[in-house]
Amino acid sequence: MKNYIKSDDTLKLGSYEFNSRLIIGTGKYIDYKQNSDALDASGAEMVTVAVRRVNVSNPNKPMLVDFIDPKKTIYLPNTAGCFTGEDAVRTLRLAKEAGGWNLVKLEVLSDPKHLYPDMEETLRAADLLIKDGFEVMVYCSDDPVFAKKLETMGCVAIMPLGAPIGSGLGVQNKVNIRLIVEQSKVPVIVDAGVGTASDATIAMELGCDGVLMNTAIADAKNPIRMALAMKHAVIAGRESYLAGRMPMKKYADPSSPLAGLI
């Protein structure tokens, strides 16, 4: 176990280094302005983004880059909507050309009902992307065996789901997340499933290196406030993990000494 102290407790992802352990999405907000305000409140230094066709019939439509400056905030392009390795490589090559980032989020989804990752295709796509020179952060099932395979292949971060994407159900399988954390030498980031601040804290207390979320902030009644809550939740969970919690006991143990009573 590394001996962390707060001042240099940074998150290293591939060739990048971050002070914030929170990564937020840019989907589902009312508009890009609200998204930008939530980003400021969250303290996140990286946002996930999707790659899509420009609307050629309406070039005046607002663009994400006009609200979240890619020079100040790192864009993490995702492969949402890709169902094969080849599609993922094609999409991320274009993303690299548009923005220049080498760090990418690979997600190969399957059934829209649960949006579980297709792990067979995820492994294949990860291999193609790594051979193409990308630093791959990979969305995956909370299966320690697949997580290990992805790490061995050279993925720079393992990102198991806490619960289905957009469900807000919180970390469903703490045992698996802990197993993945314990075995991994690269950062583990819970991606998907966080619903409220305590969920993010739980993920961090399990020893995760970061949390990635979108809907928990975007679909909150007040996304800006929730973004701030998530910032504190991730810090609280991280510090709690590093501090090391007290052991649980079966019975009470008085905090004031019983000796010397008058």
Binding site: T26, G27, V51, R52, R53, V54, V56, S57, L64, L94
Partner: protein
């Protein structure tokens, strides 16, 4: 000349258009997008010199909100 841009057919375009001419025609800012022609990436540095050919299939992408 005709092109397919993001799935839409554009015909009656002038001959020997460059990629930058196409962007100007579509009123799209070169610094915010990336382009693929017939599945090959066209680098930004070649927008002014890349001459479009009849029937080229062009994809122009940008970043949008996502998770």
């Amino acid at each position: 000349m005709y092109l397919t841009v993001n799935g839409k057919i554009y015909d009656n375009l002038i001959e020997n258009m460059t990629m930058q001419d196409l962007l100007d025609y579509l009123k799209l800012p070169a610094n915010k997008i990336a382009i693929e022609r017939n599945r090959e990436i066209v680098s930004k540095s070649s927008f002014n010199t890349a001459i479009l050919n009849d029937g080229d299939i062009i994809e122009i992408i940008h970043f949008i909100g996502g998770g």
